[in-house]
Symmetry: C2
DNA sequence: CTGTGTGCAAACTCTTTGCATAAGT
DNA sequence: ACTTATGCAAAGAGTTTGCACACAG
């Protein structure tokens, strides 16, 4: 291991190789954005915008392609969220989300021993890919307080 | 109570009045379809098609309007499901779903004591509207058997 | 050099909207 | 009669696709 090689670029490159994807400029830039700041949820549009902001000229089509390739490779997951936009999650393990009704926003439920009890066995020939818990939150009305 | 008045139409009418909606021909027909056969999940397109099949000429726009009005009135719920289409559920209580990856299909998890453990308190000023659990299922591969 | 990835713009799907007409009270 | 709902078609949002060019190996 070379001492000056701990850049995110290197990490991104490895991640892409692991996933069987060619580490192209755009994919590495997107991987940096996606994995550069902890677990997060993002839509194609948001990621595209972020890329533009840091001066990486990647097209929206490529962002979509990349997000789906990452998903197929198992390094991203699609969130089970209602609404028009598709949200991707960098945390591919079983974990859970709040969905803010007013704002159509998704946030992680703080890590903790959240668990599902008494989940029945799936039907014949099926297996559980994963479990998503979505807790829909709404703003308390002033009248409801106290 | 008139002896010949136990039609679904009557039920639908009541349901609509309860929800504060005018019981129009279209809404009653849609309510019949929606609630006529137990709990179910449906998309606007599916409902529209069903209406056509039984000869109720309702427009797709009206189906969308109606589904949203029903949702606002609390007699329908939107499912937290990824994907382009919005699915509505006639069961408005906390209950849960399988999502079949291959087929983009949603089915109820059989009634049972499924419960969530250790759900943290929601953030300040927020309250839980409801909890959705989505268990994503995938077909077992033949190679994985045994 | 060869094959895959990228960008652009057009196509596609699902959903919403505006306005004239029809139906409900 | 007056108000609200409906239907149609067009607009809108998000996503996907096809093809020529560019880049990675």
């Amino acid at each position: 291991m070379k001492p000056e090689m701990q850049h995110d670029e290197q990490t991104a490159k490895d991640r892409l190789r692991d996933a069987g994807l060619r580490p192209t400029r755009q994919r590495m830039a997107l991987a940096d954005l996606i994995y550069g700041s902890g677990n997060r949820h993002l839509s194609a549009e948001e990621l595209h915008e972020e890329a533009q902001q840091i001066g990486v000229p990647v097209s929206l089509a490529t962002v979509y392609n990349t997000l789906h390739q990452f998903t197929e490779s198992g390094i991203l997951r699609i969130l089970s969220i209602e609404g028009a936009k598709t949200y991707f999650d960098t945390n591919t393990s079983d974990h859970h989300h709040y969905f803010i009704e007013d704002e159509n926003r998704v946030i992680d439920i703080p890590e903790g021993p959240v668990a599902v009890q008494n989940l029945p066995k799936p039907p014949e020939g099926m297996e559980i890919a994963n479990v998503d818990i979505v807790v829909r939150l709404r703003r308390k009305k002033a009248a409801d307080r106290g």
